[in-house]
């Protein structure tokens, strides 16, 4: 203070300030404290949210961007790709991703990862947003198992999410057809599921399909369920006429699988674990396969089999019991004859049984053939000319047995209906030709001659002489004898005459039969029998008269 204080402008003394005690702690420190709290909270949060870092192996990293591509589950981001590297052998891509903590425990063995890209197919468009935003990695959390840090990524998304209730089934098909992952599965034309996977079988002999049927419909899949490809339009002209099978319009375009349960739906048991169902090409095939047990028989036809084709039905009393499997033409070079072996398959399960089967099945067939079971080719549809094989029991058929000397047991056949008529007429004519016409006529002639001889014989003459002699003696006695004896003989002679007339008539009838070709062989037979009877009666009469000549006079009944 080497300088004097500055004097105030006025004379007044400079006022003294008021004194106030201050708080020791400065409130300003609350700000860094707050900053520390917020910073600490952020740090803790960041650490807490940091989950495990995992590696996913993909074939290609197409569309993946490190630091940007997200891993999503149900469209919720659960991780982010941090780094993309090539594996050491350059064959794969290793994607390193930081996962959020909440899914850490779900990163187990069965966790699935796949790259979601835009997928456009008929009936389904998905992942369109990825067209603009780039691909992301989809994730399906695992359910159980060991927590892993390295996963194999899938190229394709799973069609059904794991938490969807339902059940997966395996199918085996000849070919994929128009099916693909995501193709619908129908039951009674209700969409109940979809195809989740479609792959070639390892040995290349077919296609293995996995389908997922959602709850509660998965209970409808039974052990005896038949799956068939419901894709497209199925048009068919068969013995039953024209048939068109159409599924729903969507499946017409994109294809689909339908199934039905064969047999009694209430009693069929649930499918066995790992049961592989066959996927049939169409409903008919699935239906046919309903009866898996088949018995094969050969039929030999000697007539044309035009209109008969493999797949033609084999029916019994109008009910389909099987089908034609193959038709061949067999040439026998020894006899220079052609025969047509038709192989048929009979499905015995189509026939319901009253009670238990007591004898082996082949014996049943033997017995039936013994009873007259025959196979016959028939025309089923006059319009299209389709034929089928009809099994029928003809008791009057000549007995035959099942031949077992061929590859398959051979069932006896009877000719086609038209053939049958022709054959019947021919047989009739043959029989008629074989009639003992000459013999009969000779018999008749003989009978007539005998009558003539008898009337012209000496014994008869002497008898008549005797009669003449005794006639006078007995005239008186016999004058009042009944006059019925003579008329009786007259009646007999009339009968003989009548028989002859009828023989003639029979001949006339036979002529008529011949003329018109009508089969009345039976009547003719009867007539001939009667004719024979008549001849026999005449013979008996002659015999009698020879032994009892007086019968002519006194009658037969009133003898001694």
């Amino acid at each position: 203070m080497n300088q004097p204080p500055i004097e105030p402008a006025v004379d007044e003394p400079i006022p003294e300030p008021e004194i106030q005690r201050a708080k020791r702690f400065s409130i300003v420190w609350l700000i860094p404290l707050l900053a520390v709290l917020i910073g600490g909270w952020l740090a803790v949060k960041a650490i807490r949210e940091t989950g495990p870092t995992i590696t996913i192996v993909f074939k290609s990293a197409e569309g993946l961007v490190p630091g940007k591509t997200e891993i999503k589950y149900k469209d919720v981001t659960v991780g982010k790709v941090q780094r993309i590297q090539l594996s050491e052998d350059l064959a794969q891509v290793l994607v390193t991703a930081a996962m959020s903590r909440e899914v850490a425990v779900h990163l187990t063995q069965d966790t699935l990862f796949w790259i979601v890209r835009a997928r456009v197919a008929v009936g389904e468009v998905s992942g369109i947003s990825t067209l603009l935003s780039g691909a992301y990695i989809g994730m399906m959390p695992g359910r159980s198992g060991k927590v892993l840090h390295r996963f194999e990524g899938n190229e394709k998304p799973p069609a059904i999410f794991r938490d969807t209730p339902g059940q997966q089934f395996n199918l085996r098909a000849e070919q994929l057809g128009s099916l693909d992952i995501g193709s619908p599965v129908y039951y009674r034309q209700v969409k109940v599921g979809r195809v989740t996977n479609a792959d070639m079988a390892e040995d290349g002999t077919g296609v293995l399909l996995e389908i997922f049927v959602e709850a509660p419909y998965h209970h409808q899949v039974k052990q005896s369920s038949r799956f068939y490809n419901a894709s497209g339009l199925d048009m068919k002209i068969g013995t039953d006429g024209v048939r068109i099978d159409t599924p729903s319009l969507a499946s017409l375009l994109v294809g689909g699988i339908s199934f039905f349960t064969a047999g009694d739906i209430k009693t069929s048991s649930p499918p066995a674990a790992n049961q592989i169902f066959t996927l049939y090409d169409n409903r008919d095939a699935a239906n046919a396969a309903t009866f898996s047990y088949r018995e094969y028989y050969l039929l030999y036809f000697e007539e044309t089999v035009r209109g008969l084709a493999a797949g033609a039905p084999v029916d019994f009393y109008g009910i389909k019991i099987g089908e034609v499997v193959s038709i061949r033409l067999l040439f026998d070079q020894d006899t220079l004859t052609f025969r047509i072996p038709v192989l048929i398959a009979i499905e015995p399960d189509r026939i319901e049984l009253a009670g238990e089967l007591a004898i082996p099945e082949y014996q049943v067939m033997e017995k039936l053939v013994g009873k007259g079971l025959r196979a016959q080719q028939r025309t089923g549809n006059l319009l299209t000319g389709q034929s089928y094989v009809s099994m029928r029991i003809q008791p009057e058929a000549e007995p035959q047995v099942i031949r077992t000397d061929d590859v398959y047991p051979v069932l006896p056949t009877i000719p086609n209906t038209v053939e049958e008529i022709t054959a019947t007429v021919k047989r009739l004519l043959d029989r008629f030709n074989n009639l003992p016409m000459e013999e009969t006529l000779a018999d008749i002639r003989e009978a007539a001659r005998q009558v003539k001889d008898m009337t012209g014989s000496k014994t008869l003459k002497s008898a008549i002489d005797n009669i003449d002699q005794s006639f006078a003696e007995f005239r008186k006695v016999t004058s009042d004898l009944n006059g019925g004896t003579l008329p009786k003989i007259n009646g007999m002679l009339d009968q003989a005459r009548e028989s002859l007339a009828r023989g003639e008539e029979a001949l006339a009838t036979a002529n008529t039969v011949l003329g018109e070709g009508a089969p009345i062989a039976y009547n003719l037979n009867r007539m001939l029998l009667e004719l024979q009877d008549a001849a026999r009666a005449v013979e008996a009469l002659a015999d009698y008269l020879e032994r009892h000549p007086d019968a002519i006079v006194f009658g037969k009944g009133n003898q001694e």
């Binding site: 006022p15 300030p17 004194i19 106030q20 860094p32 780039g134």
Partner: protein, 220 residues
């Protein structure tokens, strides 16, 4: 700069007086024991020779700013959804983005305004505080000028916050593009505001007090 060289001049403190910050009334300096508790007899404002608790307050705010600086740079400031793809950008990734796309000018502006300036402010203020606490006599004029620049430039750091705010308000094209403010903006704004206040609480006269021979007279 002739004025700046006048190191020993008549100051109020040297005269045993002090100036009320509120109404500019000159009052006699209170005794040492009463310092910090004095009030202006005219307007009732607190009387102090220097900004009260300047160093402590500045330090406190500076430390808070330092802490907030970390999340401000680590957390995203913008979350851009462009045609379904979402991208989070921190300040630095935004700068890099503009650099990569060739917008060097914009990248430079953002870089300077959002990264250089805040960090420079923090460093400058820390340096000033340290020099004052150590009673450094080193280049007081430059230090004062540094302080003035810091105070002047500090508010421009808010540019980034304004840009983000305006963008969020304007770019609302639904599915096409949406920009959302990330939580980093809040911390960044906090850094800017706190450093501004921190610069305000710093009393540049403290720089010159070290040059006074009588240390006792300049305390507070």
């Amino acid at each position: 700069m002739a004025m700046n060289r006048v190191h020993a001049a008549h100051t109020a403190a040297r005269s045993g007086l002090l100036n009320c910050h509120g109404c500019s009334l000159l009052v006699r300096r209170p005794s040492v024991a009463d310092r910090g508790h004095a009030r202006c007899p005219r307007c009732g404002a607190r009387l102090h020779l220097r900004k009260p608790n300047s160093i402590v307050r500045t330090w406190a705010l500076l430390i808070a700013a330092f802490i907030f600086y970390i999340p401000a740079n680590l957390l995203p400031v913008t979350i851009t959804t462009y045609l379904g793809s979402t991208q989070s950008d921190t300040i630095m990734s935004g700068v890099i983005f503009f650099m990569k796309t060739g917008s060097w000018g914009i990248a430079l502006i953002i870089f300077v305004a959002s990264i250089v300036v805040p960090i420079a402010k923090l460093i400058v203020l820390s340096g000033l505080l340290l020099s004052v606490q150590r009673r450094s006599r080193w280049r007081p004029e430059e230090r004062t000028r540094l302080y003035r620049i810091t105070e002047l430039v500090g508010r421009w750091s808010m540019l980034d916050v304004f840009v983000v705010t305006v963008m969020v308000a304007l770019v609302r094209l639904g599915f096409l593009t949406t920009i959302e403010a990330g939580s980093g903006v809040v911390y960044f704004a906090a850094v800017v505001v706190i450093t501004m206040i921190s610069a305000m609480t710093f009393d540049p006269r403290l720089i010159w007090d070290a040059l006074e021979k009588n240390d006792e007279s300049t305390a507070h």
